[in-house]
């Protein structure tokens, strides 16, 4: 476009106005003080659609400062379109340094995964959450589910899991697998695969959850007990994969299935792209890895 932009509409630094940030910051503090409890907050419209990470973006925008280094992942990958878009948003509105390196990030915003590289004290993991209420699919009414949390009445959830066992011989929930926090609140871990649930338990990092459309923020302070719901005769177990990553040969990581042709050819590769690249840099090679290792990922400087 050659036309000069007019001053018809201007936006604040870091997009959110200061009053909104204060409101979200207060909700975050309450969330940390009551682990697993969903704090209602007056979620704002964001410049990306509801359901595309507005909760996570509002949380990140409220905590981020000039010293922070931000990593954004979607499905474990730094290069999926929505992760690219959110990272670009923060580069633009907050002029913040970004990275793909899990270890170097101070804030990691994520959708559907927890990085494979163990998180450390001082890091903050911000989850994008679509439906924060773990009881919502059992009881659609907020008025009812609020009562259940208040009374610590979680029988319905156990009935659901038990019905799974009766019908399928196992608990058929594979992602967004409910957890109990510090023996009190049942919490939705966001749609991460249950593979990631154990990483939440007593993590040294602070975990913040933002649900923009549903207007809820909740939190897990570091070193908080997070236990996946199960039964004595049907203990919780995570997914296992029969083969290692085809690119970096990693085992005990979560894998994506990639379809190679229309004759049933497929392979499994790390869903955490940073983890996979780091391993290949270190010389690990899977059976389908290219000959040369990938170029070193460089930290992108602030503009």
């Amino acid at each position: 476009m050659t036309a000069q932009p007019t001053d018809i509409a201007t936006y604040n630094f870091a997009y959110l106005d200061e009053q909104t940030k204060r409101m979200i910051r207060r909700a975050i503090l309450k969330g940390i003080a009551i682990p697993g409890y969903q704090v209602p907050f007056a979620s704002r419209e964001m410049p990306m659609p509801y359901g595309w990470g507005t909760g996570g973006v509002q949380v990140t925008a409220s905590i981020i400062g000039p010293e922070d280094v931000l990593k954004v992942i979607d499905q474990g990958a730094d290069d999926t379109t929505n992760a690219v878009s959110i990272r670009a948003f923060f580069k633009k509105v907050a002029n913040v340094a970004v990275t793909t390196d899990t270890a170097k990030a101070t804030i990691i915003q994520t959708r559907h995964r927890i990085p494979e590289h163990p998180l450390t004290a001082g890091q903050v993991l911000v989850y994008q959450v679509p439906i924060p209420e773990p009881l919502r699919f059992l009881e659609p009414r907020e008025t009812e589910t609020r009562k259940m949390h208040a009374l610590e009445e979680y029988g319905l959830m156990h009935v659901k899991l038990y019905e799974d066992i009766a019908r399928h011989g196992r608990i058929a929930t594979t992602y967004a697998y409910p957890v109990k926090v510090e023996g009190r609140y049942v919490m939705d871990p966001s749609p991460t695969p249950k593979f990631d649930n154990p990483k939440m338990h007593r993590s040294p990092a602070l975990q913040l959850f933002g649900a923009g459309r549903e207007k809820r923020i909740y939190a897990l302070p570091p070193f908080t007990d997070v236990v996946s719901l199960d039964f004595e005769d049907h203990p919780f177990e995570v997914q296992t994969f029969d083969q290692p990553c085809a690119l970096c040969a990693a085992e005990n990581v979560y894998l994506d299935e990639v379809i190679l042709d229309d004759h049933g050819g497929h392979m499994f590769v790390c869903s955490d792209t940073d983890h996979c690249e780091k391993r290949r840099e270190q010389g690990h090679r899977g059976h389908l890895a290219p000959e040369t290792p990938p170029a070193l990922e460089k930290r992108e400087p602030a503009q």
Binding site: F41, E45, P49, P193, L247
Partner: protein, 370 residues
């Protein structure tokens, strides 16, 4: 050998460049100016202002052109801008009784003080496409009688004088109106909050719900007491000043629906109200809102909640089209990780099922052979 796909950033940039190109279209056709949209697509602008909850015609016009005419996208653009604006204060409640009326119709009285005023309406136009409009013909100056605001009491006030309609709400004296853009929703909600949510609710959704009440899903015997469209004054109280400061005026559409009510042992027989108020000119939306408002008051009148339109949590949780479109459309985002989890489970269960099946067949064969 396999090389992972990269380059999300470039793909996004190229997609947006293509979007800008398609938005502009054929360069030999003059680009739309905002004033053309404001003047000639005024009802579209009104809808964006109303559901975008921001009274600014120029911004709404910009949003419409930026959204290529996609109204929900335009509403979304306006909302995402309004949310960043600092809040200076709250105006006094507008007085629609003192409206400078351009259109006012009542379905309950043949004539009434102030009269019926048709105004700029599609009503009674024959819906025949107009080739003259396509040719860009000149439009004649309209004739309008000057309206007399003093002589145009609201129909609800006329009924209220006879005590035949319920009072106009009874919030406690110290009640501070809520603000759905500043506080999270909480159910059940007070009527002021509910009306705010309805006023920015999706026109199509409210229209369908209002329609459903007419077809018997929570029928509430509505009569349009009055629909009025016009300009209302906005005034702001400033602590330092002894009088309210006039800020200007806004165009609104108000619908007062008069609904039947049998009365109870305690209350005398009287009509009940359903209320609709939206920015700009939109009778359809204001009327649909009034139908929904009345339906949502079911519990207040001790009526059974039997239909969708009466269910507050259902209606209010799903009336916002910006929320709805976001969550519906988010399904196109990658879900590889969750899908893989489900795929793995289904494969395992399938393998177990097949194993059982085969074992069963082997057993049958063995028995047949014996």
């Amino acid at each position: 050998m396999y090389v992972a796909v990269k380059g999300g950033e470039a793909a996004i940039a190229n997609a947006h460049a293509l979007l800008a190109d398609r938005r502009r279209g054929d360069r030999s056709v003059p680009a739309l100016r905002l004033d053309q949209i404001v003047e000639q697509l005024a009802l579209g602008v009104d809808r964006v202002m109303s559901e975008g909850s921001l009274y600014d015609r120029e911004l709404a016009a910009l949003a419409i052109v930026q959204a290529r005419g996609d109204m929900i996208e335009a509403i979304f653009l306006v909302r995402a801008y309004r949310t960043t604006l600092p809040r200076f204060g709250y105006t006094r409640a507008i007085d629609t009784g003192a409206m400078l009326v351009e259109r006012r119709v009542s379905a309950t009285y043949k004539d009434l003080p102030g009269g019926q005023l048709l105004g700029p309406t599609f009503d009674y136009t024959h819906r025949l496409l107009d080739p003259e409009l396509a040719a860009g013909g000149e439009v004649a100056e309209p004739l309008q009688r000057a309206s007399d605001a003093d002589a145009m009491p609201r129909v609800s006030a006329i009924l209220a004088r006879e005590g035949l309609i319920e009072p106009d709400g009874d919030m406690p004296q110290d009640h501070i109106p809520g603000d759905i853009t500043r506080e999270p929703l909480e159910f059940p909600m007070a009527r002021d909050i509910r009306l705010q949510a309805l006023s920015r609710g999706d026109e199509g959704f409210l229209l369908a719900l209002g329609y459903s009440t007419q077809r018997g899903y929570a029928r509430n015997h509505p009569f349009v007491g009055e629909v009025r469209i016009g300009e209302v004054e906005l005034e702001l109280d400033v602590p330092e000043l002894p009088f309210a400061v006039p800020l200007g005026s806004a165009r609104v559409t108000e619908c007062q629906m008069v609904n039947q009510f049998k009365g109870s042992t305690k209350a005398p027989p009287q009509f009940t109200r359903g209320y609709g108020l939206v920015f700009g000119q939109s009778e359809r939306k204001a009327m649909a809102m009034a139908l929904c408002d009345r339906a949502l008051r079911a519990t207040e009148f001790g009526e059974d909640v039997v239909a969708a339109a009466q269910d507050e949590e259902f209606v209010i949780s799903h009336s916002d089209n910006v929320q709805a479109t976001g969550f519906v459309e988010h399904l196109k985002l990658p879900h590889y990780v969750d899908f893989q989890a489900e795929l793995d489970l289904v494969r395992r269960m399938r393998a177990e099922h097949d194993a059982r099946e085969n074992a069963g067949k082997a057993e049958e064969k063995r028995e047949a052979a014996e």
